[in-house]
Each structure stands twice: as structure tokens, then as C-alpha cells.
């Protein structure tokens, strides 16, 4: 039975070969990916999931496992590596499990780790994207929208990724409004919608009228929609994915990921045999991060201003490491000169810029 099957497959392949068919399905490398949250979490994991699934129309099939705890992930990576040509992991905590799985793997499988820094030549690459660029733009919008000059953030855990985003938004807001104060409330959890909502209320009570979140729960959007009044208007900014459906009236915009192009480029290079370790760090210019659609009530001048800054950036008026590359003042008054903070500095950022009023939470 099995042999007959094989025979037909071989005959099939031969036919394709003879008649010069273009890139049969079987020749496209396949993807296995691992998500740290549920594939429909409305943010981080969902955007990765959508990115991979968008490749199906290009012939790159994928399988995945979700909610895989970091501590139990090595096994899952190895399991996927036995079946697939490229294995992706999308949480920082997968770094060492992926390194372990990649070094034990004897096949030609390629490992791609999102948001880490370790690589193995010819085997394991890491990638990330410059979400802080989009966050800077949302900061510019927030600086123009705020009436109280107070901007509030709901944070999960103070890892560098989130710290740099909050700093970038602060610098963006200051670029149009030097009197901005930024406060951050940490929920100290990766996922906790009820507490997240209370954190959104807490920053609102503090006086913020533009509410940001760095978690995947749309609570700031819901809250702004519910509690905004003509006398005390509130605005909300989404995170990771468009969140406008949760409160369209008071939704401004949001920083979001767009992995489709990046994942396609990786898979294309694998298919073409040109893949190599290059630690990609895509941003606005590559359309790997961007702004979610503007809310209908955002004043036109805000949209114009932010879109202009964005176009200038894409047209190379600012470099990739902007706003940090332009120099800034830290919360403690230390001046950081232009060019001092680059990619490395952004990826390990553990301090506030001036304008953030909460204490830095570490230790």
C-alpha cells in the first residue's frame, strides 16, 4: 500500500518535472511556529499568527502550537523541527530552549527566534522589529491630543522592549509639547484583563487623558469610550494590533506589528537557499511596524502632523535608531549625546527619559 503511494508520488513529481511546472507546492519550505499566548489573544501572538497564515497564499504551509510555556518549549521546538524546514519561536523566553533545540538538531531545519540576541551561524537567527518607532509617532499624536499634559501607560513587566517603547512615546510627545508628563502603572503580570482595567482606571484617576497600553488587553480603549465626556475628553491608543473596534469614538491610533512582509522575506530566502543569520530589526521603512487606522474623531491636524513625521522618517530624514540616536536627557538628568544609544542600547534599555515621572521599578 505504502509503496504504491510512493510510486504515485514519484510519478507525480516526474510529471511536474517533465512539463516544467513552476515551483510545485511540495518544494516550498514549511513552517512550524510556537506562540507563547493563545493565537487569538488580540495582540502579540495574534499578529504573529496572522503573519504566518498570510504566507499560505504564497505556498508556505504552517503548523503551530500555542500557549507553550517557556520552560516546556524545547521539546515542542524539536517536535516541530522534525517536520518542518523553518521553526519560529515568538517569545524572548524561548531563546535558550531554541538554542538547545537548534544545537541538538541534526537536520537542515532553520530556527528563527523573535526578540532575542543569540545566533548560531547557519542554524539559528533572531529577529525583532522596531515597534518604538511607531510608538514615537503615537507619542506625537498624544502630545497634540492631550489637554491635561498627562499621558498614562499600562505596563506589563518592565522589560527593555516595553521601557524603550514608553520612552519613545515620551520623546514623541515632547517633540510637540514640552510640558508632557508620563506615568506608568505596572500590572506585574503578562496577562490579567481585570487588573489591567483597574490599571487603566488608575492612570485616568491620576489625570491622564491619553491612555496607552503595552499589554494586549483593549481596556484603555473600552475605558476611554465609556468615560470620556465633552468636558473631560479621553483618548486611547492601541497596542500590537488594531483595537479600534473596542471603542471607535475615542480611539486615536496605536503602534502595531505587521509581520507578513518580514516572514515572507525569511521564507523566500530559505526557498531560494540564500538564508543566513542577519539579526533583522525591521521598522517603519520596511513596513514591519506601523500605525493602526486612525479613529474617526481625531482632528485632521493631528493626523497630518503624524503622517508627515512618518513620511519624513520613511524618506530617511531620521535614522532607524531615532529618537534615541538624536540624544535625550534621562530621568535623573544625565544627558545622553546624539549617537550614544544605538540598537544595543535600545534592546537593553532599563531607565526612563526625562518626562516620565514614575520611578523605575527594578529592584
Amino acid at each position: 500500500m505504502h509503496k504504491i503511494h510512493r510510486f504515485f508520488l514519484a510519478a507525480f513529481a516526474a510529471t511536474f518535472f517533465l512539463f516544467g511546472s513552476q515551483a510545485s507546492m511540495a518544494s516550498k519550505p514549511s513552517i512550524g511556529f510556537v506562540l507563547v499566548g493563545p493565537h487569538n489573544d488580540g495582540g502579540w501572538s495574534m499578529r504573529h499568527y496572522q503573519g504566518f497564515k498570510s504566507l499560505e497564499k504564497h505556498g508556505y504551509e504552517s503548523e503551530y502550537a500555542e500557549m507553550v510555556p517557556e520552560a516546556d518549549s524545547e521539546r515542542v521546538f524539536r517536535k516541530l523541527a522534525r517536520k518542518h524546514d523553518v521553526v519560529f519561536g515568538t517569545s524572548f523566553g524561548y531563546m535558550d530552549p531554541m538554542v538547545a533545540a537548534a544545537s541538538k538538531d541534526k537536520s537542515n531545519t532553520i530556527f528563527m527566534h523573535g526578540t532575542g540576541y543569540k545566533v548560531i551561524d547557519g542554524k539559528l537567527d533572531n529577529y525583532n522589529c522596531r515597534l518604538y518607532q511607531a510608538r514615537y509617532l503615537t507619542g506625537v499624536a498624544a502630545g497634540m491630543l492631550t489637554k491635561t499634559n498627562k499621558i498614562g501607560f499600562v505596563g506589563s513587566h518592565p522589560i527593555p522592549e516595553i521601557v524603550s517603547n514608553i520612552n519613545a512615546a515620551t520623546l514623541g510627545a515632547q517633540s510637540v509639547n514640552p510640558n508632557i508628563e508620563v506615568n506608568v502603572i505596572w500590572i506585574n503580570s503578562w496577562f490579567d484583563p481585570p487588573k489591567d482595567m483597574d490599571a487603566a482606571k488608575t492612570v485616568k484617576e491620576w489625570g491622564a487623558d491619553v491612555l496607552f497600553t503595552t499589554t494586549d488587553s483593549p481596556n484603555v480603549v473600552t475605558l476611554a469610550q465609556k468615560e470620556s465626556t465633552p468636558a473631560k475628553p479621553l483618548w486611547s491608543m492601541g497596542n500590537d494590533a488594531p483595537m479600534n473596534s473596542f471603542g471607535p469614538d475615542r480611539y486615536a491610533t496605536g503602534a502595531m506589528f505587521n509581520w507578513n512582509l518580514f516572514y515572507k522575506s525569511v521564507m523566500d530566502s530559505v526557498a531560494a537557499g540564500t538564508w543566513k543569520v542577519n539579526r533583522s530589526f525591521w521598522g517603519l521603512k520596511e513596513n514591519c511596524v506601523g500605525l493602526s487606522p486612525w479613529g474617526p474623531n481625531v482632528p485632521g491636524e493631528v493626523v497630518n502632523k503624524v503622517e508627515t513625521v512618518k513620511m519624513n522618517w520613511i524618506n530617511d530624514e531620521m535614522d532607524d535608531d531615532f529618537p534615541f540616536s538624536a540624544g535625550f536627557t534621562k530621568q535623573d538628568g544625565t544627558v545622553v549625546k546624539a549617537g550614544e544609544v544605538g540598537r544595543q542600547g535600545i534592546e537593553t534599555m532599563q531607565y526612563w527619559v526625562k518626562g516620565v515621572i514614575s520611578d523605575f521599578p527594578v529592584k
Binding site: 493563545p38 487569538n40 489573544d41 502603572i185 506585574n188 481585570p194 483593549p218 521599578p361
Partner: protein, 309 residues
């Protein structure tokens, strides 16, 4: 002052789902059945309420169906640990897995949908009381419902024949049985009614607090409620105090940050549990002296009648 008012409002909001679930736990544990499936049941309630609210916009229907769903799913636990007398703890864990799975499975198509959360309704005069008025009497209908449930549960458990019977099931099922009461029926229905309340507790998340659906929306609150049942010493009115105290701890953790006080959230997290152990120990010692038991004596014990040994 404003700070305190906001703190109390948040404490009541965070405490309400805990209170409802805790009351559910109190009822079933008073009858002698431990329910470790609370997290799963809250998720089932949350999903049911969300779906109903999305399609009908009626919070009352949403809450009613959440209660029914919670009760129905709890019946599985009742079937396995009461009728088939399996271990209550193991069966409760199975219930959590089951409920979590069920909610995730049927919820996956609802991600991204939303509606207006239920409105706050100020109670005339009462909501003007300084400090506590805003917190306790300017809330949504589920909050008021939870007060009602707490008082009703207390009244039924401690002031009616039915309640006496229920409590006896948790104290001395053999005696009840010899008096001709059906231990199985009392325990089963207490468990199911409790499951309904836990379902309503879950509904609070999806229709009042976070009007959208994501998997695991309750984020472990069911486990806090498991601990709260004990903290409240199986008493519905103390459950109120306990739930708001836990709510206060949650609300305080966030609001201390705005005051610039960097207390470790992890140390803060431990405190209620230590406190519970301490309270339980003190009460046990005191009661041992007076020879009264606070904890249902037959809690978690299998009772089985009609055996031909």
C-alpha cells in the same frame, strides 16, 4: 479623599466577582463538598454571559444563563465526586480543565467583538454618603445583586430549616442520613447552586469589567476565590469582608505606584494568604477551647448510603 474614594470603588469592583464566586464556594463547602473547579466555572459563566449579552443586550438574561451554565457544568463534578464518590479535589481539578477548555473552544470565534458594559446605577440618597457612598451605592446592578446574594445566602444558611439541613450535611452526614434526609440530594443541589453563583461571578468579568472575550479572561480569580472561602471561614457575610479586602489589596498594588511607593507586588501578593492561614489558625485554636468547629467537619469526605456491606 478622592484617592480613597477611587480606591474603595476599585476595591468593590475587583471584589465583586470574588464575592459571588466565594458565596458559591461557601454554599457547597457548607454542605461538605469542596469545589476546586471554580476557575473553570467562572470562565464558563463569563463566556455564556458574553455571548448572551452580545446577542440580546440583556444583562439580566446574560446573568441568568451564566448561572444556569455554571450550574450545569458543576453537575459533572457532582456526578463524579458525589454519585460516583471520586476524590473531590481531583474531580475539581478536572472541572477546571473542562471549563477552561469549553470556554476557550466556544469563545474563539468571539474574539474582537464588544458591546457597552453594563451601566452604573446610583442608588438614591445612599450614593451621597461620604467616602463609602460612591464605592458601594454607585455601581452596576451585579454589584447590588452580590450584596443581595450575600445576605440571602447568610439568611438561608443560618436562619432557615433548609440552611440548617445544608450545614448539617457538612457537619454530620451520617446523622442527617439517619434522620431520613438525602445527603446526596442536599449536597448535589448545594453544589449546583454554588456553581451557578460562581458562573455569575465569571459573568461580571465579561459584561461589567472587560466587555470583550479573550481566553482565560478571569486570569486566575477562581483560585483566589477558593482561598477566600476559607478566609471567610465559610460565612457569607465574612465573605463580603474578605472579597473586598482582597479587592482592596489588588487595587492598592496599582495605586501605591501613583504615590511613588515601590512596595514589591510579590510580597503584597503573599500577604492575604499568610493572613488567611493566621486567621484560620487563631480561629481553630479558639474554637478548640470552646469546642465549636468553624470548618465543616465532614468537608471533602465521601458519604455513601445504601450499601450492602
Amino acid at each position: 479623599m478622592e484617592f480613597l474614594v477611587q480606591l474603595l470603588i476599585a476595591a468593590v469592583e475587583m471584589g465583586t466577582p470574588l464575592l459571588l464566586a466565594t458565596l458559591g464556594g461557601v454554599i457547597s463547602e457548607r454542605a461538605g463538598v469542596i469545589n476546586l473547579g471554580m476557575e473553570g466555572l467562572m470562565l464558563v459563566g463569563a463566556l455564556t454571559a458574553f455571548v448572551v449579552m452580545l446577542h440580546t443586550g440583556s444583562p439580566i438574561l446574560a446573568v441568568a444563563l451564566a448561572a444556569i451554565a455554571g450550574g450545569l457544568v458543576t453537575m459533572l463534578h457532582g456526578l463524579v465526586c458525589l454519585m460516583l464518590r471520586a476524590n473531590q479535589i481531583a474531580s475539581g481539578l478536572a472541572l477546571t480543565l473542562f471549563g477552561t477548555g469549553l470556554s476557550g473552544l466556544f469563545g474563539s470565534s468571539l474574539v474582537g467583538k464588544t458591546f457597552n458594559p453594563i451601566e452604573d446605577i446610583p442608588i438614591p440618597f445612599l450614593h451621597k454618603i461620604p467616602l463609602i457612598g460612591e464605592a458601594f451605592f454607585n455601581q452596576d446592578i451585579l454589584v447590588y445583586f452580590s450584596y443581595f446574594c450575600a445576605v440571602l445566602t447568610w439568611w438561608v444558611l443560618f436562619r432557615t430549616r433548609l440552611g440548617l439541613n445544608i450545614r448539617s450535611m457538612g457537619e454530620a452526614p451520617e446523622v442527617c442520613d439517619s434522620l431520613g434526609l438525602s445527603v446526596l440530594a442536599y449536597r448535589f443541589w448545594s453544589l449546583v447552586v454554588g456553581g451557578g453563583l460562581i458562573g455569575i461571578g465569571g459573568a461580571y468579568f465579561s459584561i461589567a469589567m472587560n466587555p470583550y472575550w479573550v481566553d482565560f479572561i478571569t486570569a486566575g480569580r477562581g483560585w483566589i476565590a477558593v482561598a477566600l472561602v476559607i478566609f471567610a471561614l465559610w460565612h457569607p457575610l465574612k465573605a463580603m469582608a474578605g472579597a473586598y479586602l482582597f479587592g482592596l489589596a489588588l487595587a492598592l498594588e496599582l495605586r501605591l505606584q501613583t504615590l511613588g511607593l515601590n512596595v514589591s507586588p510579590y510580597i503584597l501578593k503573599m500577604m492575604p494568604y499568610f493572613l488567611t492561614i493566621l486567621v484560620l489558625t487563631v480561629v481553630t485554636i479558639k474554637n478548640a477551647r470552646r469546642d465549636i468547629k468553624v470548618m465543616p467537619a465532614a468537608l471533602g469526605q465521601v458519604f455513601f448510603r445504601g450499601l450492602k456491606n
